[in-house]
């Protein structure tokens, strides 16, 4: 982490560059289950993720603090927040989680970013084909 003030001409104009200073990383994940009718509550999901952390990274992993910021039970989509130092551990244990209550499952990580704002404006989600446009061809 470095913080260098590039210039400070007056009290009015100030510019600060923060490099690698983001304290958290944010992940947008979606759980895919073999049996699509299964539903998990938020608490169950968090426990499930902790199980994965514990099996891959042991007690150190299980103690890794992370937050379930938002969770949609219908789509099994969740937003996670984790300290930047724990990102690789959390992500890898999500990747290697392969079964939930003896049914196959997989976490699809949709986006990872050091800024929560970036998760709300991902241009890869831009869909232009579904109607809503006055289309013509020539």
């Amino acid at each position: 982490m470095r913080r260098d003030d590039k210039k400070e001409e007056s009290a009015v104009f100030q510019r600060v560059v923060l490099k690698n200073a983001s304290p958290y990383h944010y992940m947008k994940v979606c759980l895919v289950l073999g049996d699509e009718s299964t539903r998990l509550s938020a608490v169950e999901l968090k426990h499930f993720i902790i199980t994965g952390l514990k099996s891959l990274h042991g007690e150190v992993g299980a103690a890794l603090p992370f937050d379930l910021l938002k969770y949609d039970e219908d789509t099994l989509t969740a937003l996670l927040r984790v300290h930047s130092r724990g990102l690789v551990k959390l992500w890898s244990s999500l990747t290697l989680l392969g079964s939930y209550q003896s049914q196959a499952c997989a976490f699809r990580v949709l986006q990872v970013s050091p800024f929560l704002l970036a998760l709300t404006g991902n241009s890869r989600e831009l869909q232009l084909d579904e109607g809503s446009a006055s289309s013509s061809s020539g």
């Binding site: 690789v88 992500w91 890898s92 990747t95 989680l97 392969g98 196959a104 997989a106 699809r108 990580v109």
Partner: protein, 270 residues
């Protein structure tokens, strides 16, 4: 960087399973996949070299890669599990049906030979058991110089905790030896839920001891050089490419789309 590839999807007799594997891979953002046929000769019996199922038989239209407007590209690959030098026949005509050729040596001697002599594209390391040998720098460097790559598959690590430990151990010692060069990461998935997205695989690469950049190359650029290496195997040093004119139509299909490119340029690995 080039497109993301997963050069190991397990073939199976179950066609709908294979179809859903390819569909999932396309959905996850892989632009090229290879269906892997495993040949495991033993001392007693020598099984026939399988012929790959044409993709057109498998599915009507190829699925579109997510977020792109082009369909996925499907290749065929043969993996020969070797416990004896006689199991790998040099220049066997049957091998020519496959786009990619891989060997999985099980003894140190064969590993040495595979690295330095055999005309193959990929050397698989069995990651699910304790390795019967150590990786030595000399053969590994030889393989790196020849453009042969090593493959690490992750789906065993999803299935079982013991297999996971072996995968990590073996992958880590491999990376220690080859320093992250010429390594590809692939799934070896049998079921669609064993596949993981490209960025997930990259992150997993960090646990195998790869750096961020190396891990991303392991599923893109290095895979591309494998494909080019495979093409040079079929051609005379990548300069001349022969096609049988009788079966022109079938060959044309398999020939890469950008055939007009100067062959020498395209064939250079890396």
């Amino acid at each position: 960087m080039s497109v993301f590839m997963d050069l190991n999807l397990c073939s199976s007799a179950d066609r709908s399973g294979l179809r859903s594997l390819i569909e999932t891979a396309a959905h996850l953002g892989f632009s090229t996949v290879a269906i892997n046929y495993v040949l495991e000769p033993t001392a007693k019996k020598k099984p026939e070299i399988p012929t790959p199922t044409p993709i057109s038989d498998l599915m009507d239209g190829l699925p579109i890669v997510q977020g792109r407007s082009r369909p996925i590209r499907v290749l065929n690959r043969l993996t020969v599990v070797m416990s004896d030098a006689s199991h790998f026949r040099l220049n066997a005509a049957e091998y020519r049906h496959f786009d990619l050729l891989a060997v999985q040596p099980t003894t140190e001697k064969l590993f040495h030979a595979a690295c330095l002599l055999y005309d193959v594209d990929i050397i698989c390391i069995s990651l699910t058991e304790k390795l019967p040998f150590f990786f030595k720098r000399a053969p590994v460097n030889g393989a790196v110089d020849r453009g042969v790559v090593f493959e690490v598959s992750y789906s065993a690590a999803i299935r079982d905790s013991t297999l996971r430990r072996y995968t990590f151990t073996n992958a880590f010692s491999l990376m220690d030896t080859c320093k992250g060069k010429n390594v590809i990461l692939s799934s070896a998935a049998e079921k669609a839920l064993e596949l993981r997205g490209p960025y997930d695989v990259t992150n997993l690469g960090l646990l195998f001891g790869l750096s961020n950049g190396d891990a991303k190359e392991a599923i893109s650029s290095t895979c591309r050089s494998v494909l080019l290496h495979a093409e040079t195997r079929k051609t005379a040093s990548g300069v001349i490419y022969t096609m049988k004119s009788s079966s022109e139509s079938s060959c044309q299909e398999r020939a890469p789309p950008e055939c007009e490119a100067p062959a020498a340029k395209r064939a250079k690995p890396t």
